[in-house]
């Protein structure tokens, strides 16, 4: 890893990271702030929710109204879209551009002519990527934890909260690996931001569709969201071995392939 490049990249991405942190934290705070109102009017709200078709509720992640009555259930149902979907969009947008932007911004001719190996460039940028994803998850999870502590009416399982946060982090890292892999496949450099965001949204849509429709439940397995268990109020909630193996295995595989491709890639500006 090259320290000079690492520090420059951290500075370059600092404002973007800050904006994403503020936006996701704001959305979490906003959502959790209605929890007490929800609990005070739970019978009315549950009554209203019962009028909504089951499929539509499942699309939002609500499979059981009782999930919403626990503070952790309310947090996981309402914040999955922010922390998992927005976090994954942040990860994939950053990762798909972190190497590629040197090409389409025509700065690669300066970077690649420094005394630094391609592998050092790759690992310096990978370190920046992982640190950014980790910091986003740390700050937003911390914000979520503080919100839960402030609005809770009954104790909740910190262990389950940490498991949920770990799944979110692993999901974000997997999307970071996907973005990195996509960027190394691009021959002629151009931004792939729209494609990357679209990919996250399509995979999230496939996941929700698989939850709504029994006949479509199998296609959910092509989406990484399927492996990020958000059923945090389940008494048997845990980090499942095969889910961990899935996230870590695919992330490592894609990162390894990306490194190999980048080291041998023809880079034009």
């Amino acid at each position: 890893m090259n320290r000079n490049l690492f520090l420059k990249e951290m500075r370059r991405n600092a404002s973007s990271l800050m904006i994403w942190m503020i936006v996701i934290t704001f959305l979490i705070v906003l959502t959790m702030s209605v929890y007490r109102t929800f609990m005070d009017n739970q019978s009315k709200i549950v009554g209203m929710l019962s009028l909504i078709p089951k499929g539509a509720l499942q699309f939002k992640g609500i499979s059981n109204f009782n999930d919403l009555l626990s503070v952790l259930g309310f947090y996981s149902v309402n914040n999955i879209i922010y922390m998992m979907v927005l976090g994954s969009i942040f990860a994939i947008v950053l990762s798909s551009n972190i190497l590629l932007k040197e090409e389409y911004n025509k700065t690669a001719e300066y970077l690649l002519t420094r005394p630094v190996n391609r592998s050092e460039i790759f690992f310096s940028k990978l370190a920046v990527l992982l640190l950014n994803v980790f910091l986003l998850n740390l700050v937003t999870s911390l914000a979520g934890f503080i919100c839960i502590e402030l609005v809770k009416r009954a104790p909740f399982s910190i262990g389950s909260f940490l498991i949920l946060s770990t799944y979110t982090l692993l999901l974000n890292i997997l999307f970071a690996a996907i973005g990195l892999f996509i960027s190394t496949l691009i021959k002629r450099a151009k931004p792939v931001t729209t494609f990357s965001i679209g990919l996250v949204l399509i995979l999230y849509f496939i996941y929700t569709l698989s939850k709504i429709t029994e006949s479509a439940s199998k296609i959910g397995y092509i989406s990484p969201f399927r492996f990020a268990n958000v059923d945090a109020i389940n008494p048997y909630y845990s980090l499942e071995f095969w889910h961990l193996a899935y996230f870590i295995g695919i992330s490592l595989l894609l990162t390894g392939l990306s490194c190999r491709l980048y080291i041998r890639k023809d880079i034009y500006t």
């Binding site: 690649l112 002519t113 630094v116 391609r118 023809d266």
Partner: protein, 296 residues
């Protein structure tokens, strides 16, 4: 015998089926100022990009200071400076920030002093944002970053684009003084005048192949002559069929001029007995030589 500064052997690069360069062979010695000329698409930038390990060759090999450009690229790059033809520095940085970022890749003592010296020489404002700079000023940044670690080899790809004549003169003066101190210079350009003025030896590249490799002086003197004849005898114009006559231009007042690659004896033999007013045999400019090779 000393190791060549650049040693290119049978180097090829294809982009799918499209040709980049084909079986290129070139040897550049330490301390040389070497010109590499050819029009756009001839393969100049492809060659340079392989040397700088930005792209990989399809075949052949290239070595700089005896080191393989792929396997030992890091060591090579610590000893090489490079001015790209059209590169944008990081637009959010100011000039000083960018140059400091660049110099930190090298183990340079007094790096800050070197940045100041070179910036003052090129009248570069270190506090300006890169994206506020004109093309000429961006080029100056590029020149400064290429020289601040005092490289042994400097690779230039169209280095004067955007520079005003005054700055071009400062730039060439600096290069000459660095060359006297031992720096080898590989100068790629399609501006023939500056290659002619600055380089000692030149390679002409056409469609991915080197078609001529000579000293600049030898290239000019060796074969090609520019001949102008003022005549009263129309037979000269009508029977100008001796081998080696090309690109005949008929001027006003019975004057013709042409490029001639045959022997002077043949030319004089042909003209003897004809009615001439004036005969001028000159060395052609590099532009004319270049066009000659390209037409053939």
């Amino acid at each position: 015998m000393s190791t060549p500064m650049i040693d290119i052997t049978d180097l090829s690069k294809f982009y799918g089926k499209a040709r980049g360069i084909e079986h290129l062979n070139l040897e550049i010695n330490e301390g040389e100022i070497f010109g590499f000329i050819g029009p756009n698409g001839a393969g100049k930038s492809t060659t340079i990009r392989i040397l700088m390990n930005m792209i990989f060759p399809t075949g052949g090999s290239a070595r700089i200071m005896g080191m393989d450009v792929i396997r030992e690229t890091k060591k090579i790059k610590s000893l090489v400076g490079y001015i790209p033809s059209d590169a944008n520095a990081y637009s959010a940085m100011d000039v000083h920030e960018f140059l400091t970022y660049c110099i930190r890749f090298y183990q340079v003592e007094n790096g800050e002093k070197r940045i100041t010296e070179l910036s003052e020489l090129f009248e570069l404002d270190l506090n300006r944002k890169i994206d506020e700079l004109s093309l000429g000023n961006r080029k100056k940044v590029s020149i400064v970053q290429s020289l601040m670690h005092s490289p042994k080899l400097l690779i230039l790809d169209e280095p004067t684009t955007g520079l005003d004549p005054l700055m071009q003169s400062v730039f060439f003066e600096l290069l000459r003084s660095e060359n006297k101190r031992g720096m080898t210079i590989f100068f790629s350009s399609h501006i023939l005048g500056e290659v002619q003025m600055f380089c000692k030896r030149v390679a002409i590249i056409k469609e991915g192949k080197i078609i001529q490799l000579e000293d600049i002086d030898t290239l000019r003197k060796k074969q090609l002559k520019k001949v102008s004849i003022e005549f009263t005898d129309q037979l000269i114009k009508e029977n100008l069929t001796i081998p080696g006559v090309e690109k005949v231009i008929t001027g006003p007042d019975n004057i013709i001029s042409f490029m001639y690659s045959g022997t002077l004896n043949d030319l004089v033999g042909f003209l003897s007995g004809k009615k001439l007013i004036n005969l001028m045999i000159e060395e052609p400019s590099l532009d004319e030589i270049f066009m000659h090779y390209y037409k053939n």
